[in-house]
């Protein structure tokens, strides 16, 4: 085969070889890191599942704890978490999303709104134990809600609010300014623009932000421990709303702490099964969120 002069211009020089080596090295490092990230995740889930296996059953989920929590199920803790998270999001999601819409779409860029933004960002970084203390002072004592589902939910709501505001703003910012300008140019008001173009294109991002807070609210122990969650509360098996707003309640995260450290001679698999239920419910919520997002995005393209 004769050497074509045109092809000879593209020979593999030492420089090219070095470039290729660097390329494969970089690729290897990045891949290694993502594998390193997945391994602990898989390991944790597998370990938990194996240890929890003896206790895992439908009965475990719907039954009440028996014999001083040494046997039986975790129904009260499970519905307690459902109620707490549901109530707290019912409060924080509307307030957070609507506030973020105001801050991003309406508010002028003046010192007052800059202070609000700064406050939101900083509040998002406050440790949960501090929120717990605030909830104790504000809701349990000052507002006289007592140790209750209401106080605990509001504390969780306060904790998740700044993050919901921040993530909603991000989602709104991802809608290009040109879309808004185009709407304003044809005589649409800000609200018509938001409803017609901005929200339909940011709703999946907004939902993701809110749903991520479900897992956070479900997992937090300190805020509810200070304000309304207790070690044990007797409820009827399978009852979906066993707690009134002013009652104290059980919660999965709290229950996990209790059975792991506070109760002697618990069957070994029970704490692990509790963890699996907590993890499973959070994953279920996330899966729902992903499905919803896929559906919304699919609808967006007609």
């Amino acid at each position: 085969m004769s050497l074509d002069p045109a092809a000879a211009r593209f020979t593999r020089t030492a420089n090219v070889a070095r470039k290729e080596r660097a390329e494969s090295l970089a690729r290897a490092i990045f891949m290694l890191m993502s594998v390193a990230m997945i391994i602990p995740l898989v390991a944790i889930v597998t370990y938990l599942l194996v240890r929890a296996a003896p206790s895992l059953s439908w009965e475990f989920l719907v039954d009440v704890p028996r014999k001083g929590m040494r046997e039986g199920g975790i129904w009260p803790a499970f519905v307690g978490t459902l109620n707490l998270v549901g109530l707290s999001l019912a409060v924080s999601a509307p307030i957070g999303v609507l506030a973020a819409i105001y801050l991003h779409e309406y508010a002028k860029d003046n010192w007052f709104n800059r202070v609000i933004n700064l406050a939101v960002i900083n509040l998002a970084g406050v440790p949960s134990i501090v929120h717990a203390l605030f909830g104790l002072g504000a809701f349990v004592y000052a507002a006289k809600f007592g140790y209750s589902v209401l106080a605990a939910s509001l504390t969780l709501a306060i904790m998740t609010l700044p993050v919901i505001i921040a993530s909603t703003r991000e989602a709104l910012a991802s809608v290009p300014m040109a879309f808004r300008a185009a709407c304003w140019n044809v005589g649409a008001s800000r609200w018509q623009t938001i409803r017609g173009v901005v929200l339909p294109n940011s709703i999946s991002g907004i939902l993701t932000g809110v749903i991520l807070q479900v897992s956070r609210a479900a997992g937090e122990t300190a805020p509810i421990m200070f304000t309304g969650a207790v070690f044990y509360k007797a409820v009827k098996r399978g009852d979906l709303f066993p707690f009134g707003l002013n009652d104290q309640c059980m919660a999965l995260s709290m229950h996990l702490y209790t059975v792991s450290t506070q109760v002697p001679n618990v069957r070994e698999s029970i704490p692990y099964a509790t963890a699996i239920v907590l993890l499973g419910s959070v994953l279920m919520v996330n899966a729902t969120a992903i499905a919803l997002r896929v559906w919304l995005r699919h609808r967006k393209r007609w």
């Binding site: 709407c183 304003w184 044809v186 005589g187 649409a188 173009v197 294109n201 393209r301």
Partner: protein, 254 residues
């Protein structure tokens, strides 16, 4: 209102962004049913001027406007219905902005915003505007498809259709051909020649030849001042009043 009468009167218009003045007190008139060209290099305040016309400049909190703009004798600072004002002026941006809605909804957006709900009336508007923008034949079978999925040139015509959907009396085009191919540009230019029978057109352009082809009068704006405003014939003649105009339209000017 007869053709040739003044539709927009601008008096001593000053515009500053956060203290930096970009329009230094300019005054001019735009006549009914003319194609009014605005030429000038980037950063000379052309686009800002357009956003003063329909008061979308209000959305920029840094901007400070002084002076007067009258639309058919009415001071636009004083209008009670700013949305109505914006509907009287159609705006086409430099880069085509198909809204992430269906082609149909893109055009129907403005009529819906002003409260029109009747399906038949909306259908009629959508068809009329898409025909006027020379896009109907290409999209009539897929009105439910996403407007943003169209090609650049089609999207720009969609933008023009949207700008016509609220039956403006004045159509402002801001460098509409910047992102589209010459053939499409020619098609849109034909559309504009057709449209000028009914409405006034303000054409901001970087292409001096486009201004020469289309406009009746041309304004040369440079660094926020009007260098010269005259009939297009004079501006592009051997003897415009200003030497800078002569140099700019021939591309000698830096």
């Amino acid at each position: 209102m007869s053709p040739g009468s003044k539709t927009i009167e601008v008096e001593e218009l000053r515009l500053a962004y956060a203290g930096r003045e970009v329009l230094h007190g300019i005054s001019f008139d735009i006549h009914r049913n003319e194609i009014f060209g605005i030429i000038g290099p980037a950063q000379s305040g052309k686009s800002s001027l357009l956003s003063c016309f329909n008061r979308t400049i209000d959305f920029n909190t840094d901007a400070a406007v002084s002076g007067t703009i009258r639309l058919d004798g009415e001071d636009i600072r004083r209008v009670r219905d700013v949305y109505g004002l914006r509907r009287k002026i159609g705006m086409v941006a430099p880069l085509p902005v198909g809204l992430p809605l269906s082609i149909y909804d893109n055009v129907a957006f403005a009529p819906r915003s002003s409260g029109l709900k009747s399906k038949a009336a909306l259908d009629a508007i959508v068809e009329r505007c898409l025909r006027q923008a020379a896009l109907w034949d290409e999209v009539k079978d897929r009105l439910k498809h996403l407007g943003t999925a169209l090609s650049g040139g089609q999207q720009q015509r969609l933008t023009i259709a949207r700008a016509l959907s609220h039956e403006p009396e004045i159509l402002c085009l801001d460098e509409f051909s910047i992102a589209i191919d010459p053939v499409t540009t020619m098609r849109i230019e034909d559309v504009l020649k057709e449209l000028r029978q009914h409405i006034t057109i303000v054409l901001v352009t970087n292409l001096v030849q486009q201004a020469r082809r289309l406009t009746d009068r041309t304004m040369f704006l440079w660094e926020g001042n009007i260098v010269e405003l005259d009939t297009t014939e004079v501006i592009f003649s051997e003897t415009p009043a200003e030497r800078r105009t002569y140099e700019y339209v021939r591309g000698i000017f830096g």
